[in-house]
Symmetry: C2
Subunit: 224 residues, 2 copies
Amino acid sequence: MRGESTPRLREALEEDIVAGHLRPGQRLDEVSLAARFEVSRTPIREALIQLAASGLVEIRPRRGAFVVLLGPRALIESFELMAEIEAACGRLAARRATPEDRAALAAAHAACAAAVADADAARYYPANAVFHQAIYAATANRVLAEEARRLQVRLQPYRRLQLRVPRRMEASFAEHEAILAALLAGDGAAAAEHLRAHVLVQGERFMSLLGALQAETDADAEAG
Amino acid sequence: MRGESTPRLREALEEDIVAGHLRPGQRLDEVSLAARFEVSRTPIREALIQLAASGLVEIRPRRGAFVVLLGPRALIESFELMAEIEAACGRLAARRATPEDRAALAAAHAACAAAVADADAARYYPANAVFHQAIYAATANRVLAEEARRLQVRLQPYRRLQLRVPRRMEASFAEHEAILAALLAGDGAAAAEHLRAHVLVQGERFMSLLGALQAETDADAEAG
DNA sequence: AGGGGAGATCTTGCATACATGATCTTGACT
DNA sequence: AGTCAAGATCATGTATGCAAGATCTCCCCT
């Protein structure tokens, strides 16, 4: 067997979780996964441990591994942390962005604009992620950028639901405009504030959506 | 063998690294560790993977595990990230600290004061860590607090060297006074600024210390 | 004498085996 | 009929075995 199957497994599982193929709360059985990927339990276990460390999976001793299901409180707190991290990125990026960084930011913003023009939400969300990653890169701080990226991945499974929030895409894009302007103007404080608000409002809208979905689910449960 | 040896191993290794028993850059041989802890390689491997995820260890494929040795650039970036995280903690803690949180902050500060009065650096540094953790706790955001704690642990092996910076303890304590005052006054912006500066200055002093030590080592190498 | 390469040795990465704790099933009792 | 307990069943946690890559050594060649 050629080596290095663990990284492949980790990426495949991460992809499945982030893409929503594996739902939050779902149990991840080592034996089934081993069968599915045609490897032994050992590399599966190692991949699961890594995913647990990155916050996508929770391992309960002797009980198994589960796709992390963030409760309302943990979700709020995670969005708050994300808001602070992104604000920090904005502060630093505004001061340090190189001409290349600025070009990348503008290009990512343009990609978002194209998606908005086509009202193509399925294209907007990846473009949005790229825009944010361009901000991380412009901080010239890889440790910070990596931290931001990890949090982004961790929240990805929940962001997907936002596709259902009406007119969220247009609102998000308008916020991006203000963020980009502040960044290009080198105004760190403004960029930080716009980013903080941008992420927090996402979190809030998401939470209210979650409440609506929960009510819906409860109603279904009663009806059924 | 009764189960659950991996968490114990992880903590023991983390302790050894943070306490400086295992030096940055040192190789961690699975077989030796297994012999030392009287377990098989399997739980050792799993503990190492977890430590790699928390940033204390680096695993190079097919090459083995090494205690992470942050280069100058990564160190600067890590301190910068820490400064931003702590600033965020300060902002939120100033607004949200409960009476219990305030009491804990005051108590931690008093412990620092006692160590300063006795000029006892060995006691000051743990007390300092407790003070900062009290700030994290006061944010009422466990996700953020956990993130801060993880970074604190990650930088711990390097902070130890600061014991050698002259009058650093007094300077640190003076900065704590300003931080505590802002927190108790509910002034989030001031608390954030004081904390950011506090951590950044730590990082800067640390880096210059590192430069001095490096020069010393080089001189020794030439002399030897 | 120094550098490079072939073979030996060692370590990691993965597979498999086994034991213990968790879960599920079944049956008895209230 | 419902509940609880004991046994069966199963999954996890750990140990051990094995193959392949990395490192080290030593010798040959320039």
